[in-house]
Every structure is written in C-alpha cells, then in structure tokens.
C-alpha cells in the first residue's frame, strides 16, 4: 500500500524542516511507521484511523525539531534553497555586470592593465561581500521573525492544520527583477557621484568630469531616496523568503516607496535633479522644458503608486486564500 495523500502531506511537512541529506530516509521511515500504525489500529475504517494516528504524531514542526539535532542555525532548512538560489542569481548577474562596467571605465580612461585588473578585483570582492552580507542578513531576520513559538502542543494539532501543498511561487521572478532594478539604481546613483562619468568640454579646452545628478543632493535629499530604494530591495527579498506579501510587509513597502518617491518628486519639481553643468553641456543651446520635470515627477508617482497597489492586492488575495 502506498502512502495516502494526507500521510504524504504530513511527511513532507516534517521532512522539509530537517537537513536535506536526511529527508529521504526519515520520510521513508515515517511512511512505514504511519502505515503500520494505521493498519494495526483500524482495519475497518482506515481513513479515520489515519487521521487519528497523524493527530497523535502531532505538529510536524515539533516532530521535525525532534528529528533534527536542533543545532541553532542562521538560516533553517526551510529557507535554505531560496537563499542559495537568490545568492547564485545575484552573484551570476550583478557581480559580473558591475565588475565589467567599472573595469571598462578604467580602460576608456586609458589606465594601464595593472590598475584595470586592480579595479576589477577590488570591485568583484566588494560587490560580492556586500551581496552575500545583505542577503544573509535579510534571510536570517526572516528566519528569526518566524520563530519557534509557533509549535503547538500535540493535543492542539489536528491533520486539518496541514497546509495545502505549496503552490509554485509565481511572483518570485518579478520580485527578483524589481529588487535587481532598485539595486541597480542605487549602484548608478553612487557610481555617477564617485566616478563622475560625464565628460564635458572644459573652459580651458581640457576635459571636465562631471556628475550627472545635482551635487547638492548629497547634502540632503539623496539620503532618504537611497534609503527608500534600499528598503524596496530588502522588502522584495523578504517577499521572496516568505513566498508572498502580507499586509504588514506591504505597509513597510509603501513606506519605502514613499521615502524614495516623495523626495524625488520634490527635487524634480524644484528642477534640482540634474547637475546644472551637466545640463548646459548636454543640452547645448536647448533648454529643458518644465514639462519634462512634471512628466518625470508624475511618472515616478505613477510607478510607485501602481507598485504599492499591486502588492496590496496580492496581500489581500493571499490573506483571503488562507
């Protein structure tokens, strides 16, 4: 007799919380002992017997804790696959892009090969360390916030508490992309400030290197904007780890979006977004119309509002689906 669907769901709920190398064996043993007990208990009504046996085995979280050695871990076996996948994806995409971009800039500047390699290695190490550190911190916080306090006593647990088999997480790719885009914006903002990539013809016939954004932002509005962008990245990662939005995380998300968008709208409205020297050189004799800034502000507002509204709807749908 193969394990029934209910037993199988129970077994999966237990083994997904124990270390991966033990899952197969523990699952096989659990199936056998549950089937043995059901068979001995209720030959007349195997279905009722199965429910009774599973209720006696108790909360899968608790059983899994008994099967694991309860070594305190930073990121539990439950979240570990998502953690590894996300790290691999970021290290395979952002890391080479950043490294090649900064090394390429050195090449354009006519630096010698030694300093190009130096820049490449330095960038790779710094970016990799930042990525690993931040992703680890976010996942560890999610792990802590889910806490062990949710284990119920065996008597309070019934097979009805088994969650539905997990559905594939369809929103994960969108989350990765949005987190990646916002991380890219942070990178670009910092980069244009430190590398001064724009080359303008200087007054004395030489080449001036300019920032694209208004340098004055760095003594004011850029900080809430960067914090907002970082908040969006972190919350998208939380969304991936938790496999969906909750009203609480959407609340934080809305705050992070506001932190970026409101200063952005203000700065765009005051026409203090771009470096005046950059605009003069870039536009030549042409003047940027006011409508451009209005459009920029309205666009930023529309993107933010849509993003928040979509996530709010997703959280509501998820809550209703429980």
């Amino acid at each position: 007799m193969g394990a029934t669907a209910l037993t199988e769901r129970y077994v999966q709920e237990v083994v997904r919380r124990i270390p991966a190398d033990q899952r197969g064996e523990v699952a096989a043993e659990l199936r056998a002992v549950i089937a043995d007990t059901v068979e001995a208990r209720g030959p007349d009504d195997p279905e009722a017997a199965e429910r009774a046996v599973l209720a006696e085995m108790g909360d899968p979280v608790r059983l899994a804790a008994d099967y694991s050695d309860r070594q305190p871990v930073l990121i539990g076996p439950d979240l570990y696959p998502a953690y590894v996948r996300l790290l691999a994806a970021l290290l395979c995409t952002l890391l080479p892009v950043a490294t090649v971009a900064l090394a390429g800039l050195d090449v354009l500047d006519g630096e010698d090969i030694g300093s190009v390699i130096g820049t490449a290695v330095g960038t790779a190490v710094t970016v990799a360390a930042q990525l690993i550190a931040w992703v680890t911190v976010v996942f560890a916080l999610v792990e802590r916030s889910r806490g062990g306090g949710r284990i119920r006593r065996a008597a309070e647990w019934t097979p009805d508490d088994l969650p539905e088999p997990p559905r594939p997480d369809r929103g994960a790719t969108a989350s990765y992309l949005w987190a990646g885009w916002n991380a890219l914006l942070i990178g670009l903002i910092v980069w244009q400030h430190t590398a001064r990539p724009y080359r303008a013809a200087g007054a004395d016939g030489g080449i001036d290197r300019l920032e694209v954004l208004h340098p004055g932002l760095w003594s004011g509005w850029i900080w809430p904007m960067l914090a907002g962008l970082a908040g969006v990245v972190v919350l998208e990662l939380v969304r991936v780890a938790a496999r969906g939005w909750t009203l609480r995380t959407v609340g934080w998300y809305a705050a992070a979006e506001a932190l970026f968008t409101l200063p952005f709208i203000w700065v765009a409205h005051r026409q203090m977004l771009f470096n005046p020297d950059f605009l003069t050189d870039f536009n030549g004799g042409w003047t940027t119309p006011d409508a451009f800034y209005t459009l920029l502000a309205a666009g930023a507002f529309a993107v933010s509002a849509t993003a928040v509204a979509n996530r709010f709807r997703a959280a509501r749908a998820r809550q209703a689906g429980r």
């Binding site: 043993e29 043995d36 085995m57 108790g58 608790r62 059983l63 099967y67 050695d69």
Partner: protein, 111 residues
C-alpha cells in the same frame, strides 16, 4: 494542580531516561519501529511514537544502534539492532540503574 497531576508529571520525568535503556535491552533482536513501540508498551514502558521514532534515529547517529532496510515485505521497513558499542553502554546503564534503585530504596526506607 491536583496531586495526581503532579505525580503524573514527575513520573514522566522519572521515565524519560528509562526508554533508552529499554530500547537498548529489547533491540538485541532486530525490530522495526512500530513493532518495537508495541513491545515497549506491552512491557509496561509507556512511550509515544513521536518520541520513540526520533529517539531511535538519535541513538543510531550516536552509534548505539545499527539499522538495515528490509525490502522483502511489500512495505519496506527499517530494522534497528544494538551495536557492540550500544551493548557496552547498556551494561553501564544497567549498573547505573541498579545503583539508583538501591540508593532510592535506602533513602525512602529511612523516611
């Protein structure tokens, strides 16, 4: 809390360690999980499956039990038996047990 509940709670504490000793004693002959549970309960050693099965696995990890999958039956089962190390530990635990019984007997007689 009634005194009966208190006795029940304390008795559970007393029995906790004895399950290990009972398992090491009974698994001289190989047995699979559910059969061992029945044997233990039949012998008056009260233990639940959700305690026993993880315990067997822990004892195996510690090298006190060895296991083997029997796939002759339509339902594959994992059979456990005591290892040489397990037998040594059992002998030590039996001595401890007799010491405890003797000590407690002395202490309780004096009252």
């Amino acid at each position: 809390m009634s005194s009966e509940d208190l006795i029940l709670g304390q008795a559970q504490e007393l029995r906790r360690g004895t399950v290990v000793l009972a398992c090491l004693a009974l698994l001289e002959e190989p047995q699979y999980g559910y059969a061992l549970l029945e044997t233990l309960n039949g012998a008056g050693v009260a233990v639940d499956g959700n305690t026993l099965y993880p315990l067997l696995r822990r004892l195996e990890k510690q090298g006190l039990l060895t296991s083997e999958w029997n796939t002759d039956d339509p339902r594959p089962r994992k059979f456990y038996r005591v290892s040489t190390e397990g037998a040594r530990v059992r002998a030590g635990l039996v001595r401890e047990w007799q010491d405890i019984v003797a000590s407690i007997a002395r202490v309780t007689k004096e009252n």
